[in-house]
Symmetry: C2
Subunit: 461 residues, 2 copies
């Protein structure tokens, strides 16, 4: 299964935390946390600090700050290597070739360059930089950045130059939303995000729909009963987004979007790296999407099963009813959409093929069908009654090649569906197997497919 | 054939001008022009005047001004009636129902409302308002407007309240790009456009990619030899966009996008109402598309033929070679894309089905296949080698019903192609049979399909 996590080491730590049965975990008591993890010391000041430089290459720079007076080394890892679209033809037009990303760094950024790990991989390997220590014990690192959301984290006293074997930590001045006063509710997130605006003079794309909105919805993390779930035992977690002005008493129940994380991630992925609250807040504010409830489950910790059957059963038998009991959402499948990325894209496929009638809209991101998968007549008939969206990054290594024995990649999935007469909305964007792509695909799925009529004639001609 | 013009009367006048063999036409000498057509009188001042009000409903207002001291009545017609997406399910989910647009006016605009004529029609009927006369002979009209590009024009001394039977004129202070000092080069355009920015506090969408860009490409209108063309005789016109920093000596030749107008329009449509220069300038600046040459032919004035055969022959045998002789463009089909709207969408289909190998990418907007159209094995084989994009407005009357005997609409075209195993990228957006939709579709076609790999696996699995 593909690892679409920010990076593997950090998620091993997150997985360890996930093993605890208590919903609330105090970070300070977590063994994987460096002893001198930075706190909100007054000498730290704000981090990150966004500066509108008005200068090349992007018009903006960001300074990251981390207070660690006794550390001998602090590093920062961030999503700031880039792929140039001119690398595209090599990777997307045939399964015989894969290009490694050129690993363009921020100073060399040019319009069109999209964030992508170097080397191109499903196990992202973004740049790691040493930070500089100032007299007050604060370590700093400044880099120009183009517009968009960037995930970053710190390593403290890590002996390796690329962070291998070390535990990343989030920014204490910019902590994940489920962390307050060093106390984590749910799964700890070992990274933070920064949003950078666009200065159009430098050819950056205006991603203001990913910025914090004026009217904001709410994120909540909850534990629900999940008999048979292994880790944690007989229960599991999910995150729920409710839109701004959510009204449990309005006449019309809300539609519900279910969003699944990638391999190595958990219920926190979409609401941190995925920027889901800002994206939905903005798209709802402009009327580009209708207000909806978004549910982000955790697909880890289930007993082994074929085609994610254990998770699918839990989703259908427990999560959906749990959500319908507690939120003012529609109980009809035509008002439910499911989307997931990478390993979550495979879950999307398993649902789409086996439980088709449970959702009206499927958004498969950055995965593919199992090698040799064929569609039965019954599956084709069922699939023609729903809307199918298949998206990925053009430069994703899995675009044409798929991923080992797990799947054949999204391009082949489009072909398999079309060959079977199942209409598909394909959506490929510049980028790799990383969150920059999934934020774009989320916007496209909810504005163009989810909760809209079928994008083809479903009546007789 | 559908009439996708801003409105029919104005284009009758334009067609009359098109009949002249001289490329340059002096507007003042044109009989259809009102005698007291406004000029650049110092008392006129600027028109339109954009004001950031910061107030509901949109945060912006626009004042239009027209100098006509001897007129007894001046009216303005503009693309400012709107459809609410909640009207969607009625129109797009079955061919049995059509809703008339609700005809929402600017003061009642709410986030999500998209420009659409009232009543919903392929023959747009946007609001006509009386303007108020000021002491200095200037007539004014002020309206709040959401973000985006709006086309408008004036009627002088028109006896009807809706402009019927009267000749619209463009704004002398904001003349079409092919008009300088009351002299028109090519076809006169009876309307003007205004771009309104977004104030995000009011939920307007940021359409800054439709605004004038810092680095601008160039538009040129040209006459080429077209033996057999009826009107004008043995010649025809086209408009060519070259990108900013167009370099006829760079090593790599440019790709070429051919864009076709709708019924009743001509070679000027895309570069005025279609905002093509601003859109391409912006998308090139951000690297969202590669620099390309855009060619906008005139499909009118050909001898009668089946499936636009006369125009298609002219395009393939004369226009493409003419462009390749004069511009530094690639001569291979994989570097050529064709897109057209409404009647131009039908031309796109006729090319796609009959001359498939001439272009690598087809963008069919707001039309459909002929009723009963089936695809031969040869056509299917050829179509699988190109990329097919099919887009329209969800609320377009032709979405599900098609248009009389001309075509079955885009939803049915998607189904016909998918049933035949031809991959399609469908793209439906909120709006009707009008330019707001086509500007959105243009962006989507060039950023997601044109000059990109096929959005499916074209190799053996």
């Amino acid at each position: 299964m593909s690892t679409s996590s920010f990076w593997r080491n950090g998620l091993r730590a997150a997985a360890a935390i996930l093993g605890a049965s208590a919903l609330t975990v105090v970070v300070a008591g977590h063994a994987a946390t460096p002893a001198d993890r930075g706190g909100h010391d007054r000498r730290l000041g704000t981090s990150p600090v966004l500066k509108h430089t008005g200068k090349a290459p992007t018009g903006y720079s960001v300074t990251f700050r981390y207070y660690a007076p006794t550390a001998s080394r602090v590093q920062i890892k961030g999503e700031w290597s880039f792929v140039r679209p001119s690398a595209l033809p090599q990777v997307a037009s045939t399964p015989d070739h894969t290009v490694e990303s050129q690993g363009i760094l921020p100073l060399d950024w040019r319009p069109g360059d999209a964030p992508m790990p170097y080397p191109n991989s499903t196990d992202p390997n973004f740049p790691v930089n040493d930070m500089a220590k100032e007299r007050n014990g604060v370590w700093t690192f400044t880099t120009p950045l183009p517009s968009g959301v960037f995930t970053y984290a710190f390593f403290v006293d890590c002996p390796t130059d690329n962070g291998a074997g070390c535990t990343p930590v989030s920014d204490p001045s910019n902590a994940p939303w489920n962390e307050k006063n060093d106390t984590v509710t749910g799964s700890a997130v070992p990274n933070s995000q920064v949003y950078v605006p666009s200065d159009s003079r430098f050819g950056t794309v205006d991603y203001s729909w990913q910025a914090p909105a004026k009217k904001q919805g709410k994120l909540r993390i909850a534990t629900y009963s999940s008999p048979g779930h292994v880790t944690p035992v007989d229960e599991n977690r999910l995150v729920v987004y409710t839109p701004p002005s959510y009204d449990p008493r309005r006449s019309e129940p809300y539609p519900t979007l279910y969003l699944n994380h990638g391999g190595g991630e958990n219920e926190m992925g979409w609401s941190t790296q995925g920027d889901v609250k800002n994206i939905m807040d903005n798209l709802i504010a402009t009327g580009e999407v209708v207000p909806m409830v978004v549910v982000m489950p955790n697909a880890n910790g289930y007993p082994a099963s074929t085609d994610n059957a254990a998770f699918r059963s839990d989703l259908i038998d427990r999560i959906i009813p749990w959500v319908e009991d507690r939120y003012h959402v529609s109980t009809t499948a035509a008002d439910r959409a499911f989307s997931g990325l990478s390993a979550g894209g495979r879950i999307t496929n398993h649902l789409m093929l086996n439980d088709t009638e449970q959702f009206g809209y499927y958004g498969m991101m950055s995965a593919g069908l199992a090698p040799g998968q064929t569609l039965s007549d019954e599956q084709v008939t069922a699939l023609k009654k729903v809307s199918v969206f298949i998206g990925a990054g053009w430069q994703d290594v899995i675009f044409a090649k798929g991923f080992n024995n797990f799947h054949t990649g999204p391009a082949m999935e489009v072909s398999t569906f079309v060959d079977a007469g199942v209409p598909v909305t394909p959506d490929f964007v510049h980028g790799g197997h990383n969150w920059n792509v999934w934020r774009l695909l989320l916007k496209d799925f909810v504005t163009r497919v989810a909760f809209l009529p079928q994008p083809f004639a479903s009546w007789e001609g």
